[in-house]
Every structure is written in structure tokens, then in C-alpha cells.
């Protein structure tokens, strides 16, 4: 029911993200990479100097990361990277299973050929990233692939919540990627999952649940 919204998304909105957004992306990447670990403090001035900006955009970036649960801000004490204990990881994967199964069940009846094509596209890129051992790219694409399966459900709020959860989970997944050989299995599962979705087979939901919960229990914890 699109009504020709103005939406100047013609070609490229020139990608004009503000400095705080850009810095937030940068810092998030470094946290997900593991460059900043558990209790590490993130000093405003150090970051500001590093990117040759003032401390202000850094402060706003940290606020954003706080909202995403990646850092904790204490007044007059600065930002420290939040912990990633195994109970937390376990709970986050449980949440993923609960929410992603629910939304997939809602998406299945509306899953069409164009959706399948989009998902397949991500799947191909995913394989490429795996072969290049590009963990950062793999993590992003993994979520993009999953997301593409859920898009037909037309549930923006659920997707938004899931996006937040996946950002956190990514810190864990990246470690998995280098630690285990389970990724090949994941790729196969992804293909199977897409097949089931394409034929709108309701067992896709159960398959997805298993896929998510299996991924949760490989290593014991991201950090000692």
C-alpha cells in the first residue's frame, strides 16, 4: 500500500551520516572485533584525538553505543565496554530463538519468489565472506540473510528488537568463527532453511530454532 512518499532515495542519499553516527559505527566495529574487550575503558579524548575530531561527537557516539548495550556510562567515570558472560550469551540466543521463530512463522505465508531471490543473494555473499575469512562481513551478512527471511512478515518493531540483539550476539559469533569449524554446517543449514522457506514449509520454524540454539552452545564463553 505504498503511497508514493517523497523519500528522495532516488540513487544515493549521499550517505550523509553525522560524525557521531560515523564514530559510533567505527567504535562498534572495534568492540565487535574484540579490540576493546570486556571491562576496557573508552576514553573520550583518546578516541577524539585518534579520529581528529573534538570530544563532543565522541560523547554522542558513546550515548548511542550505550543504547545498544555495548558500553556502560557512569557519570564522571566514563564508558566501559559491557561484559559478555556466558549466561548473557545464552539468554540472548534464547531470545533470538523465541523472536525469530515467531516472526518467521508470520513471514512464511507471505514468502514469495522475490524474497527468495534476495535471501539467495545474501547467501552467496555469505559464502564468499566465509571463504575470505572475513569475519566482520560474515557477521553482518549472517544477520542480513536472517533478516531477509523475516521481511515478508512486515513486523518492523520485532525486527528492530532483533537487530539490537544481533548486534550484541555478533561479538560472540565472531569469536566462534575463528574458533570452530561449525560455520560450514551453518552455511548448509542456511541453504536448507531457505529451501524450506521457499516452499513455505512450516517445519522451517523448527529448523530455524534448532539452527539458532545449536549456534549458542559451541564455545563456553567469549572471554574467560
Amino acid at each position: 500500500m505504498k503511497v508514493t512518499t517523497r523519500e528522495a532515495r532516488s540513487v544515493n542519499p549521499i550517505a550523509r551520516q553525522s560524525l557521531p553516527d560515523a564514530i559510533a559505527v567505527e567504535l562498534r566495529e572495534r568492540i565487535l572485533n574484540g579490540e576493546f574487550k570486556d571491562g576496557d575503558p573508552i576514553v573520550q579524548e583518546a578516541i577524539a584525538e585518534e579520529y581528529e575530531v573534538s570530544r563532543m561527537p565522541v560523547r554522542e557516539a558513546l550515548r548511542q553505543l550505550e543504547g545498544q548495550g555495548l558500553v556502560a556510562l557512569k557519570t564522571h567515570k566514563g564508558a566501559i565496554v559491557t561484559s559478555m558472560k556466558k549466561e548473557k550469551v545464552s539468554e540472548l540466543f534464547d531470545l533470538r530463538a523465541l523472536l525469530e521463530c515467531d516472526i518467521l512463522a508470520r513471514a512464511l505465508p507471505h514468502f514469495g519468489p522475490s524474497d527468495a531471490a534476495a535471501a539467495q543473494d545474501f547467501l552467496n555473499q555469505l559464502e564468499g565472506a566465509y571463504q575470505r575469512r572475513d569475519t566482520a562481513e560474515w557477521g553482518k551478512l549472517n544477520w542480513q540473510f536472517h533478516r531477509s527471511l523475516y521481511l515478508p512478515a512486515n513486523r518492523p518493531e520485532t525486527l528492530s528488537v532483533l537487530e539490537g540483539i544481533n548486534i550484541q550476539v555478533e561479538r560472540f559469533i565472531r569469536v566462534q568463527l575463528v574458533m570452530t569449524g561449525a560455520v560450514a554446517a551453518a552455511e548448509r543449514e542456511h541453504r536448507d532453511l531457505l529451501s524450506l522457506c521457499t516452499e513455505r514449509n512450516p517445519t522451517a520454524v523448527d529448523y530455524l530454532r534448532k539452527h539458532i540454539l545449536d549456534a549458542a552452545k559451541l564455545p563456553s564463553s567469549i572471554s574467560a
Copy 2:
């Protein structure tokens, strides 16, 4: 090991919240109240002047509210209050049902007398707020009560997600409070729910689901 550390955790850490936090709380309240409605712009300078502070803490407060999904920030265009369409409300209540039922099921086996007492306390306050027609307080206490039922599950991440959802839903609930007489029913349901939890009756979960989904479908939308 230091034993004689100051240990200022005695009773009250003086609750020192920073200016951005305080302003965020204030603005959130005004958005939930409906003082700022759907597409309303929130001008940094106006807010800053109003609270007699500079624009900077306001900017950080707006970042926080953005993270909670209450406002949308566009570069060089400022902040506008996010919309609250009925599909969104409906989806948020579905999410509540899904997540709160799951967490309640996990909490029930650990639900003890002290938990019941805490919940009962919130219930009493809730009734008082209702009689005073204090919608702001009622909304907060409603969540506090629900939360107290879920605490024994020991699932901080799920609670965190639910907290975010409930903040958004509160905008809707407050309108309900003045528009419908369904609150008395909600109070009765709360008492029944607490009884079921106290005796660890598994049907509490189904009762909760009905309680949440019923609340969702009273008015059609918060704003035209």
C-alpha cells in the same frame, strides 16, 4: 584485599543522575503524557532555555530518547516524535505477550513468598494511583508490578528488552486510562494473576497472555 573500602553502597547512592539523564526523563515524561505528539519537532534551543541549561545536555538526552525509539533524529533537521500507529501498537503488544509469557513461565518455579510480597506492594500502590487518577504513576507501577513477577526468572536481557517495549507502550496505555473503564478489570486481573503466581500455577502464563492481548485491543489508535 582491601576490606575497609569506603563502601558507599550503604543505603542510597544519592541517586546522582547527570543532566542529560534528568532531561531525558523529563522529555520522556512529556512525550508519554502526550504533550509532544506524533510528528512534533523537539527544538534543542527551546528545551535548553526552558530548563535553563545549554543545548549540549539536551542533545545527549535526545540521543537517549532516540535509542528508546521515542524520537527520530535527522541530521541538520532536528528531532521529531516518532509515530504511534495502531499497527505498531498491536505489534508491540504481541511482542509483550510473547516475551512476558516466556519469562513468566521461567519465573514461576522460583516464585517465592518474598516475590509475592513485593508484587503485592506494587499492586497496592497501583490501586492508589488509579484512585487518584494519576496516569503517569499508574503506567510506571503497572510495569513495576509485571516486572516484579518476572524477576525470579533471573533474565536481565529479556527484562531489558521488555523495559524498552513497555516505555513505548506506555504512550498508548495512558490514553487508554482516560478513555476507557477497563482499568478496573485490569486491577482485578492483576490480583488474580498474582494469586496464580503465588501458588505457582502454570495457567498463570495463559492468564497473562490474555491479560496483555485484551489490553491491546481497546481503542483503535492513539492518534488519528
